[in-house]
């Protein structure tokens, strides 16, 4: 397969690494070469986290700036941390949900407006999918499965990997929460699919 580079971002604890690993496992099931780089740091204690997933045989584990085919983002402000990796007209799937931190709880006006973030993304690409993933995850019965919702959306708009490979990988990665995660995945998939027609 041709090379495909994907950046994932969010806050520590949202499950960025989980879905990165799911995608890697799905790729292996289809005999697609994959490299994964986990950009963690002091993330569990409130910081941002990102990962690079490179399909199809790359040398470097890190994606060069301006080269990523797509970004999956679990918290809307975190797109700012990784947008420079996106190629022109690359695709973006992002949660519209926010997670406030210390500073924005005290001064909510310091959290950038959705319109500003959207404008910044659109200066780079017109392929932007925004999902109310927090709401969709809650409707699916798992408020924590925002990551699975985004994964579903990505899967619906992308022929990179078969849907069955991803759902198989979701089950393999965590058998205990498989049903809950698959439901959240389905919700994201359906939402994005219906949005396509609009």
């Amino acid at each position: 397969m041709k090379q495909y580079d994907l950046v994932l971002s969010g806050l520590g604890g949202q499950g960025v690494m989980t879905i990165s690993q799911v995608l890697a496992a799905a790729a292996l099931r289809e005999n697609v070469d994959v490299k994964l780089f986990e950009g963690t740091g002091i993330t569990q204690r409130g910081g941002g986290v990102f990962s690079f997933v490179r399909f199809g045989g790359a040398y470097s584990p890190k994606i060069p700036v301006g080269e990523a085919d797509a970004i999956i983002c679990l918290e809307i402000s975190e797109i700012a941390s990784v947008i420079s990796y996106l190629k022109q007209q690359g695709r973006v799937w992002t949660n519209t949900g926010k997670i406030h931190g210390y500073y924005t709880k005290l001064r909510p006006e310091s959290y950038p407006a959705r319109e500003e973030i959207e404008a910044m993304i659109r200066s780079r690409t017109s392929h932007l999918h925004m999902l109310p993933a927090d709401k969709l995850a809650r409707e699916a019965g798992s408020p924590q499965a925002v990551n699975m919702v985004l994964l579903g959306a990505f899967s619906s708009g992308n022929s990179l990997l078969k849907r069955e490979s991803i759902t198989w990988a979701i089950e393999e990665t965590n058998k205990r929460f498989a049903q809950a995660n698959l439901e959240a995945f389905r919700k994201g998939y359906e939402f994005a699919k219906n949005e396509e027609g609009v």
Binding site: R29, F37, G101, T173
Partner: protein
Amino acid sequence: MSVQRSTREHGPKEQILLSGNQAIARAAVEAGVSLVTGYPGTPSTYVIEDLLRTPDLGFRVEWSINEKVAFELATGVSWAGLRSLVTMKMSGLNVAADSFLSVQYSGATGGLVLYVADDPNVYYGMVEQDSRHYARLAVAPMLMPATPQEALDFTRFAFTLSEQIGRPVMIQGTTTLANTYELVNPGQIESIQREPSFEFNIAKYAKAGAAACVIQHQDTLKALERFGILTEDLNPLSVNGSKIGVIATGVTWNYLQEVLHRYRLKPSTLKVGVAHPLPTKKIEALLSKVDTVVVLEELEPFIEETVMALNGKMDHRVEVIGKIHGPLSRTGDYDVDVVASALGEVYREGIPQSQTARGVSEQAQDLKVKRLNTFCVGCPHRATYYALNQAIEKLGYKKHEVIITGDIGCTILGMNEPFQSCWTEISMGSSISLAQGFKYAGIKTPVVATIGDGTFFHAGIPALLNASHNKTNLTVIILDNHWASMTGMQPHVGSGDPSYAEEKQVIMVEGIVRASGIENVWRVNPYQTKRMIETVMDAVSSPEISVIISDAECAIQKRRRKKGGGFLKVKPEKCVGLEACEHSCIEVLGCPALGRSEDGKAFIDPSICTACGLCHHVCSYGAI
């Protein structure tokens, strides 16, 4: 196939996705080690974590109290003829260095491999040191894998090499290597059947005779030379007719490959897999064929300095592009763009620069939300630092009149808002001795040292005994949350970990503190806020050395074992709103469970609140 399961379960001929750290863990399994030990230190932590999660290993894997002890344990195993692996981050090597240097001279019998992980760009905190310098200092051979496959192969080979030359062997990793996952071909798992035994030979194993030490040094130099010969193939040299050469080591090799393939460039190349001894003959061979050489290595110009020296022998005929005269940096880590930019100096037309991405990154910078690194929800340290700040205020001191020294681990988050309590952070255990030093300088106002439990066991004990012996007037607060939390809640000698299969002696902090002769010792639950504040006030006012053990388990560990429990709620009718409140709960505590609701009042997230009660204490309107 779960990528979390790894190591032992897979046989050869079956490719598996492994990270650099997992690959090193796998190598230890394949090499038939008897012991893997170390101290939690990210980015090396996951080697041992991975092994601890693997059932039926058949050998001992455990965390040691500190890196020095870990290295000495491995030495015992090696000198008795069996194989061992020690893992640590670069700061840990500094701790183990005393023994490491000595053992390097004495030698190894069973293969002894030391994996040290550096952290270019400091993803995880501490000094951005280049541990390759230890290889020079210790006269130690060092291998530098570029990929997880190499991490597996080099580490596996290192055990054999260690036995062949009779010396410990170092493996150098970095954050990028540790956190990169790729498809790896594992090898056969070897079974080592050896009877342990140790020979009496003080000329080899002791250091009290000058002549013996010099001979050990000479023998170690010879062993290093033999290592260089045995590992020539790990430095592939590819010379074509090009007048441009590139030398690359570690993960930079991957970035180089990406750039060469993308822009169809064909320089001569030398991949340095052996950091020490450097392949000087191959470097000379490359220099004799090119006019320009680019040296790619993260952190220090370690290879570049040798390249310059060899170039000097050739009357400086080659232009060397690296860090010494720019443009590459000695700080931070590399990526494809850094390497492309460096090669762009030589291949001027061959490599276009990406302009448009830069425009977006400026826009993006303005939109980044500043995030606070703080204690987790319910963390006892939040309660302790809150009480400490309150006590200082109630005693009539201004905030910056009382020096508070900090230490490594979760406790150091007390340096951030909203507490801004810790003023310093040096190394494991130094909070106490630094505090003593401030007193020796004559600082008249109280000095308080804060330190975690794992850290106290690791290195704080000698400092405390030193302070006690000298009767220095200090307050020491040991924040005992029972685990080494920052690195992922590893157990230490004071943890009562129910998952232990064998009997372990749990060591009590209070016992050690009292044994040092200190009389003012209090053990307090920090969630009992009023009592905690009073105790800190007593300790700080006392003219004698005082120790408070702030004792409550790490909130994450507690939750893992025991789900459920209550949560607190805000009574909106009593809350005056976050704007109107002079000391709002959010501002004063910064707890992630505290939020702001639509109407500007405080709100508690019931899904994460642990009902620690601190916000209830802080609210002067009785709204919680």
